[in-house]
């Protein structure tokens, strides 16, 4: 998803289970990489290194419960975003990951049925303002919790940094 776009189509790139922790998303050994653009190289490196290579811009990662649990490392959300992931759909999220994702402009949607309703390769249509996710491949709609207006503002701005830059420094 290009920065700030609230509606787009993307393919499901991975369907993952419960408790995908931040060490799995982005291993601790690369925490001293503080250049956001370089984080994507290590996305899912320990367990699912094949996912990264196949990501097309706007693709969607689907997971079951508690995606992004564990550490506060922002690189986990940054790596997904920089790799081109358009959104993460999960039944629930680790709370710090959820906030990091929105702050970095990566939509994180609470969608309890996504895990059951998506297969790798399915095409999804996502409309963040309307709070609608549709699986175009199966022609099924996937219920997703509406994002807080504050979160939508941040996503529309492309994340917290551009949002605050506009507010304070422009």
């Amino acid at each position: 998803m290009p920065d700030g776009r609230l509606k787009w189509r993307g393919r499901v790139r991975a369907v993952l289970g419960d408790h995908i922790d931040t060490d799995v998303i982005y291993p601790g050994r690369y925490l001293n990489i503080t250049d956001r653009e370089k984080t994507a190289e290590h996305l899912f490196e320990l367990v699912y290194p094949e996912i990264r290579a196949s990501i097309q811009p706007g693709d969607v990662i689907v997971a079951a419960r508690n995606f992004g649990c564990g550490s506060s490392r922002e690189q986990a959300a940054a790596a997904l975003k920089v790799a081109g992931v358009g959104a993460v759909l999960a039944a629930s999220f680790g709370r710090i990951f959820f906030r990091n994702a929105i702050n970095l402009g990566l939509p994180a949607l609470i969608a309890p049925e996504a895990f059951a309703a998506c297969r790798v390769g399915d095409e999804l249509e996502i409309d963040l303002s309307a709070g609608v996710v549709r699986n175009c491949t199966t022609n099924q709609s996937i219920p997703a919790a509406a994002l807080d207006p504050r979160a939508l503002d941040l996503l529309a701005a492309g994340g917290l940094i551009p949002y605050l830059r506009r507010k304070y420094a422009a």
Partner: protein
């Protein structure tokens, strides 16, 4: 209807009379903590384009994850943060050799008091709930927002109350209790929620032991966790701060999402172990059979305090670490280190064959100072055993209490301290 601790603190910090769960409030931050990732915060802050942070006196920065610098990359990061600290005039900066692990250093220096709203760029910032603070982890970019505005939005969490009574059996500690609770509730069992620990067994605990509970509450997803603000806490805090200390307690008619009752005498007959590769994969020690270990780690923001080193010294005294195993000991802070040195605990541990790492996170997050090879097994007093957390993705980490870690180092396999130390000795904590 009354309010829980989390609701009271968020109401105060957002200038409201009352708040209720699921409301979103914007609250003023009293203290903003970062460790080495202050460099990430700094970068995001500079991207926003401001020159001056909102309030340098409310920012604390502590180096702990990579001390001393293990690489040129880290050394460069440390240097950039030092320069930023000097330029911004941030008074509460704890450099290499001045502090230790952030979650130990903040309270030790009287920075955290009851009723405060604390955020930190570290997930185990929940630890400071042992001091009556609403204290939670956030990411680096969000912290750059705090450095800019001094405020943050929060969804008011609902609260789970955990009432604990009974006396601990010998060798059973706060670590066993919280692992047992996480095993029961699961890794997402307290997601987005506040947790209040209370009851006679909690009130009888030392502050160090209470910190184990609030630290590990994060591993069941808690946003914040509290232990009571009582005389034990006030006695601990008074010598550390000239500031007025507010007593704070939940209202008697506060609403809880659920209340859980635990009797440690009944429910915790033996040590609890979190098995690879998740913190909620908890089993009693006797259910595990023979588990040989290569490395034993005693340290971290969970269990690297004086009482932890003391019990380990008591277990290993006059014995030696098994040939097949290594024992790594990491005091949580310079202050803990010095006390343990004076009291002779470190001498006992070194004589037994332990190696003492400098105060800091050590190998907890797999960066340095004791990384595991493929097919190695570690027993650790830390708080995470995720796949690859301490090194190779083919290594295994079992989480346990300091007493079990020390006993296992001597035995070369997971071991009950009672199988190593045979004399009758007093309980660690009584409740």
């Amino acid at each position: 209807m009354g309010m829980t601790l989390a609701e009271k603190i968020l109401a105060r910090a957002s200038g409201r009379d009352r708040v209720t769960p699921d409301e979103v409030v914007v609250a003023r931050v009293d203290l903003a903590m970062s460790h080495e990732n202050a460099d990430l915060v700094r970068k995001s802050f500079l991207e926003i384009g401001l020159n001056q942070v909102w309030d340098p006196t409310r920012i604390a920065i502590i180096f702990d994850h990579r001390v001393p610098a293990e690489s040129e990359k880290t050394a460069t990061t440390h240097k950039a943060v030092r320069e930023f600290v000097a330029a911004q005039g941030i008074p509460n900066f704890y450099d290499v050799g001045r502090g230790g692990i952030c979650h130990q250093v903040l309270p030790e220096n009287g920075h955290v008091r009851p009723g405060m709203l604390v955020v930190g760029t570290d997930s185990h910032t929940t630890t400071h709930g042992a001091f009556g603070a609403f204290s939670t982890g956030i990411g680096a970019t969000e912290m750059a927002g705090v450095w800019t505005e001094g405020a943050l939005w929060f969804k008011v969490p609902s609260t789970i109350r955990i009432e604990v009574k009974g006396s601990f059996h010998q060798w059973i500690t706060a670590k066993d209790l919280i692992l047992y609770i996480i095993g029961m509730l699961g890794a997402a069992g307290a997601d987005y929620r506040a947790v209040e620990f209370d009851g006679p067994a909690i009130r009888a605990m030392s502050i160090a032991s209470r910190m184990v509970l609030t630290n590990l509450a994060m591993e069941m997803g808690a946003k914040v966790a509290f232990t009571p603000v009582d005389e034990v806490l006030l006695d601990y805090l008074r010598p550390l701060t000239p500031q007025k200390i507010h007593r704070i307690a939940p209202d008697p008619d506060a609403h809880y999402e659920r209340t859980i009752h635990i009797d440690v005498a009944r429910d915790l007959p033996e040590p609890q172990i979190a098995c690879p590769h998740s913190v909620d994969n908890v089993r009693p020690l006797s259910a595990l059979g023979e588990v040989p270990i290569d490395q034993a780690v005693l340290g971290s923001c969970t269990n690297g305090r004086l009482e932890d080193l003391e019990v380990a010294a008591r277990v290993v005294a006059g014995r030696v670490v098994c040939d097949r195993a290594r024992l790594l000991v990491i005091p949580a802070s310079q202050r803990v280190y010095l006390e343990a040195l004076r009291l002779g605990y470190l001498e006992t541990l070194v004589a037994a064959g332990a190696i003492i790492n400098p105060p800091g996170c050590g190998p907890c997050v797999g960066l340095h100072q004791g990384i595991l090879a493929a097919r190695e097994t570690c027993v650790s007093s830390t708080n995470r055993n995720f796949l690859g957390r301490m090194g190779s993705k083919d290594s295994r980490v079992y989480l346990a209490s300091p007493a079990v870690v020390a006993a296992s180092a001597i035995a070369g396999r997971l071991a009950h301290p009672a199988s190593i130390v045979h004399e009758e000795e007093p309980c660690l904590t009584e409740g």
